[in-house]
C-alpha cells in the first residue's frame, strides 16, 4: 500500500501559483529526495503532508494529499491526530529549552500519555533509533541546548519518532551540520528507512544520491522528473533535470 500520495495538487499563495498539478506516490520504507533550485516549490510540497502551509496567509491548495490513504485536507480530519502520523525535522535543530528526556517525552505527554514506565521506554527506544542513546543515556536530565548541533538534530529526530509516525518529512536536515554530523544523520536516515517512509528536501545532490531510493526534480512549481535516484543521476529523461544536476542550469 502506498504510504503517501499527492494527486493533481495545485498550491497558491494568493495569486502566485507555487505548485502546478503535482502527482507523486511514496512507497513504504523508501527515502525520496526532493531537489530543485530555491523557490521551486519543494518545501511547499513537503509541508503539504503535515499541513504546515496552513499557517501561511493566503495559502490555498487543490487536489488530493493522502497519508495512509487518509485525505490530509479532509474537513473532518483531526489535525493533532494526523500530525502524530507525520513527523518533521527542520533545517536548523530546534530542541525545546528543556531536558533531553523531556524533549523526547513532550509529544507523548501532549498526546495524553502519562504512564511513566511507558514514557521512559519510549524515550529510550526513540533515542536508540535516532542513534543518540549511547551518547546521552547518562545525562538525560541535561539541557538539550548543551548538545552539539549534530546531537540536537538527532534529538529532534528522536522527538519525531517518539509519537511513532508513519511518514517523516525532512527539510534539509543536515545543511547546518559539519561533515561528521551529516554522515551520522545520513546513516540514521538509512537505518530509519527500515521502519519509516521518508521524504527529504535537500540542496546537496550528492546527499540525494547517497541516501535516497527515488528523486524528484522540481522547477518553477512543476514536477519535472520523478524516478529512481540511480536513473536520475546516470541518465535522466529530461534535459532540464540533466542541466540542473550537472550544474549547467539557467
Amino acid at each position: 500500500m502506498t504510504q503517501a500520495e499527492a494527486k493533481n495538487v495545485n498550491v497558491w499563495y494568493d495569486s502566485f501559483q507555487a505548485l502546478k498539478d503535482i502527482s507523486m506516490t511514496f512507497e513504504p520504507n523508501t527515502v525520496t529526495a526532493l531537489i530543485g533550485p530555491s523557490g521551486c516549490g519543494k518545501s511547499t510540497f513537503l509541508r503539504l503532508f503535515n499541513r504546515m502551509n496552513d499557517l501561511i496567509p493566503l495559502f490555498r491548495v487543490e487536489g488530493l494529499v493522502t497519508v495512509n490513504g487518509q485525505n490530509v485536507y479532509s474537513k473532518d480530519i483531526r489535525l493533532d491526530e494526523m500530525r502524530k502520523k507525520v513527523g518533521m525535522v527542520f533545517q536548523k535543530p530546534n530542541p525545546f529549552p528543556k531536558s533531553i528526556f523531556e524533549n523526547v517525552a513532550y509529544g507523548l505527554r501532549v498526546n495524553g500519555i502519562s504512564n511513566r514506565k511507558e514514557i521512559e521506554e519510549t524515550v529510550e527506544r526513540s533515542l536508540k533509533q535516532a542513534a543518540l542513546w549511547d551518547e546521552v543515556k547518562d545525562s538525560l536530565k541535561k539541557s538539550a541546548m548543551e548538545l552539539s548541533g549534530g546531537q540536537q538534530q538527532r534529538l529532534c529526530i528522536a522527538r519525531a519518532l517518539a509519537v511513532q509516525p508513519k511518514l517523516i518529512l525532512m527539510d534539509e536536515p543536515a545543511s547546518a551540520l559539519d561533515p561528521i554530523s551529516t554522515n551520522r544523520i545520513e546513516e540514521l536516515i538509512f537505518e530509519l528507512k527500515k521502519d519509516y517512509t521518508i521524504i527529504i528536501v535537500t540542496h546537496n545532490l550528492q546527499q540525494a544520491g547517497r541516501i535516497s531510493d527515488a528523486t524528484a526534480f522540481f522547477y518553477l512549481g512543476e514536477l519535472v522528473e520523478f524516478n529512481l535516484t540511480k536513473k536520475i543521476f546516470l541518465n535522466p529523461d529530461n534535459e532540464r533535470t540533466q542541466n540542473y544536476i550537472t550544474g549547467r542550469f539557467g
Binding site: 545532490l205 550528492q206 544520491g209 543521476f233 541518465n235 533535470t241 540533466q242 544536476i245 550537472t246 550544474g247
Partner: protein, 223 residues
C-alpha cells in the same frame, strides 16, 4: 562554461589526440612492415612513449574529475567511458608498437607471398577503418557509426579463425621463411585483438551516448 565543462573539454581534446596518434601509429607500423622501412618503425617505437603518456594523463585527469567534481548523468558517463576507452586505445598502441618492432628487426619488406595468403593487407585496412570510424562516432556523437563497427569486426575474425591452416600450409611451402611466417601469424592475432579492443570502445560509446550496457550481451550489435 562551468569548471567541469572546462575539465571535460580538456579530456575530450586529449582523448581525440591520443586516438589520432594511435591511428597514425598503426598506419606507420603497416607501412614500415610492408615497405621494410626501419626508420618509420623506429618512429613508431619512439612514439609509443607518447601513447603511454596520454594514457597516464587521461587516467589522472579523469580521476581528478571523479574525485573533485562529483560528475553525474552525461558527465559521469563520459568520464567512466573515457577511462575504459583510454585503456583500450593504449592496448592498440601496444600492438602497433609490437608490429613496428617486427618491421625494425626484419631484413626487408614483408614478402608479398606471405602478406597475401595471410590476408594482412585486408586485416590492416579493416582494423584501421574501425579505428577511424570509432573516432568519428565519438567526435560526432554518432550512434550509427558505432553500429557499423560490430559488422566490420567479422572481417578480422574470419582470417584469424583460419590462421592455423593458412600458416601451416605456408610453412610447408616455404620452410626457410618459417620465422617470418610466424611473425605474420602474430601480427594477424594482434590485428584481430585490435578489432576486439575497438568493439570494447564501441560498447563504451553506447554507454556514453545512451546509458545502455551491452557488454557480454547477446542483444548487442544492431540495437
Amino acid at each position: 562554461m562551468t569548471v567541469i565543462d572546462n575539465n571535460i573539454q580538456q579530456i575530450r581534446t586529449d582523448l581525440v589526440q591520443m586516438w589520432t596518434l594511435v591511428i597514425n601509429q598503426m598506419e606507420k607500423a603497416r607501412l614500415a612492415l610492408i615497405n621494410g622501412d626501419k626508420n618509420l618503425a623506429r618512429e613508431v617505437r619512439m612514439n609509443e612513449k607518447r601513447v603511454d603518456a596520454f594514457e597516464l594523463k587521461l587516467d589522472m585527469d579523469s580521476e581528478n574529475v571523479l574525485m573533485l567534481k562529483n560528475p553525474v548523468a552525461i558527465d559521469l558517463r563520459f568520464i567512466l567511458s573515457v577511462l575504459k576507452i583510454n585503456y583500450n586505445l593504449e592496448r592498440i598502441g601496444d600492438y602497433a608498437n609490437a608490429i613496428a618492432k617486427v618491421a625494425e628487426h626484419a631484413n626487408g619488406p614483408m614478402p608479398e607471398d606471405i602478406l597475401q595468403p595471410t590476408h594482412l593487407p585486408e586485416m590492416f585496412f579493416t582494423a584501421q577503418s574501425m579505428l577511424q570510424e570509432s573516432l568519428y562516432a565519438f567526435e560526432k556523437s554518432d550512434r550509427n557509426h558505432v553500429n557499423v563497427l560490430f559488422g566490420m569486426d567479422e572481417k578480422l575474425d574470419k582470417p584469424n579463425n583460419n590462421a592455423n591452416v593458412i600458416i601451416s600450409q605456408l610453412i610447408k611451402e616455404k620452410p626457410d621463411d618459417t620465422m617470418l611466417i610466424l611473425e605474420a601469424l602474430s601480427i594477424m592475432r594482434k590485428l584481430e585483438r585490435t578489432g576486439d579492443h575497438i568493439l570494447n570502445v564501441a560498447e563504451e560509446l553506447i554507454f556514453y551516448f545512451d546509458a545502455i550496457v551491452i557488454k557480454h550481451s547477446k542483444i548487442h550489435k544492431n540495437q
